[in-house]
Assembly symmetry: C2
Homo-oligomer: 249 residues x 2
Amino acid sequence: MDGRPQIIGPKGSLADDVAPPSIKAVPFLHSRDHGAVELLNPREQRELGKLSSIVRVRRQTVIYPEGGRSQFVFNLVQGVAQTYHLLESGQRRVTSFMFPGDLLGLSENGHYAATAQALTNLTAYRIPIDAFRSLLERDPALDGRILCKLCHELRSSERHTIMASQRDAISRLAGFLLGLSASPGAAQAGAETLRLPMLRHDIADYLGLTVEAVSRAFQSLEAQGAVHRQTPRVISILDEALLQRLAQW
Amino acid sequence: MDGRPQIIGPKGSLADDVAPPSIKAVPFLHSRDHGAVELLNPREQRELGKLSSIVRVRRQTVIYPEGGRSQFVFNLVQGVAQTYHLLESGQRRVTSFMFPGDLLGLSENGHYAATAQALTNLTAYRIPIDAFRSLLERDPALDGRILCKLCHELRSSERHTIMASQRDAISRLAGFLLGLSASPGAAQAGAETLRLPMLRHDIADYLGLTVEAVSRAFQSLEAQGAVHRQTPRVISILDEALLQRLAQW
DNA sequence: CGCGATATTGAAGTCTGTCAAGCCCTGTGG
DNA sequence: CCACAGGGCTTGACAGACTTCAATATCGCG
C-alpha cells in the first residue's frame, strides 16, 4: 500500500465510522480560561460534511507540501499531524502539532505555507478551498466561528513563540508538556499519563533544541520528580504544579 | 499632559489630518511573495471610520493591558506599537511589533491576551468591539478580508517563532532586521536605512535574548559588513544577501 | 525474536547569560 | 541654540548551558 491519502469519497461508504466534522476552540467572548468547545452546530457539521471527502492518511505521510498549490482545507477528526518548514540551512522547524478539532491548510495565500505530515494514521475531512470560501460567504455565523478558530491558533502560536524563546531547555520542555496535557485532543481523557505521538526529533525541532537537549531535559524533569518516563513515548505527569513552576510562566 | 489616550471623537475635528482606516496584508489567494496590499475599499474605510473614534497615544503609553476586558479593536494608521506578555518569572516577552495597516486587540476571547504599548506617538481608529462584530456579520466580504489579515498575522507569528528558536543570536537578529526591512510600515519607502522604533531591550525580549547579546550580535553583523549602525536606532543594511545567509533560512 | 531506528548518556568546545563598568545618544531645560 | 543629565547602549570577563560528535542502550516493528 502506498503512502498517498486514501480518499473515501463524499459521504463515502465508511462515513458512518467517522466522527462528524469538528472545529474546537476557546470561544471569542466569554469568561477566560475555559477549555475549548465545539464551534460547529449540527447543521454546520452537515454542511461541511457535504462539501468534503473523507481521507485517511497513513503515519508519516505528507498531507500537503510547503509551497504547493493550496486546493484543500483539512479538518482533522482523528489522529495527530504536524506542520513544519524546511530552512535553507537544512534545519527543520516544526511550527505546530494538530489534533482532532483542528483545521489545516488555511493560513496560506494560494500556496501552503508549511508542510503538513501525519504523525499517526489519521482521518480528516478534505474540503475544496473554493467551496469552503463560498460556504463562509453564505454563512456569516460560520465565518465568525472560523475567525474565532484562527484567533485561537494565533494565541497558541504566540504561546509557542514564548516557549521556544525560553532560555533553558527545561523550561521549554515543561511548557511543551503542559501545553500538550492541556490540549483537548492530546491527552486521553484527563489521565495524567500522556502518550506522545511525536518523536524526540519532532519535539526538538518544535522547541528549537537538539534531541540530546530534549533527552537531558526529560532526565532533569524526571530527577526532580515532575514527570516519569514509562517508555520514551509514554509520560506520566507526577507534579503539575512543579512543571508549571519550571516552565517559568 | 497625562499619558492617557487622547480621544478626538467620531469623525473628530482633526479627522482630516488623519489617514483613513487601513488594513494591509498579503492577499489570501494570489501568486506568492508579493507585498502586502490595502484590503479595505473606500466604502469599507468609510464604514469603519463611522464606527470609530480617533485616538492619539503618546510614546510609551499602554493602549490596553493584558487581561483587561476587551472593549475595543484598534486600527493603527500612524506610528508603531508592540504587544507583550509579562511572565510570572518576571521576564517579559514581546510578541509583536505593530505598524500602520495593523489591527490590535482582535486575537482575544473577551479579554485582551497581551498588553499593547505605543513605541512612538501614534494614531489609531478605536472601534467598539460589538459594532465591529456586527459590521462583520452584515458584510461577509469584509469578514473575509479580516480572515485574510488574521492568516497573515498567523504567518508572521510563525515567522517569529522560527526566528526566536534559532540557536545563535546573530541568526535571530539578522532575521529580525530582514523582517523589519520587508515590513510594509517599518521601512521608510525602500531606503536601506532602517529606523528602529524600539529599544534594544524590546528587541531582546522579542528575540528571547538579553540586551547584551543583541548588542554583540549587532557588533558581529557590523564587523562582517552586513549592516552599519549610524546611531543605535538608525541602521543601514549594507549586504542584504549576507544578512539572508546569516539568518539561516 | 532480531534488527534497525530511536533514545539516552558522555566529554569537549562554543555561545549566551550574568555581573560590572564605561560610553554615547537623546531630549529636557535654560 | 546649547549644555547637561539621565537613560540607553556597548564592551569586558567569567560561569553555565547548550551544541556537537561519539558511543551505547533501548524500543518497537516485522
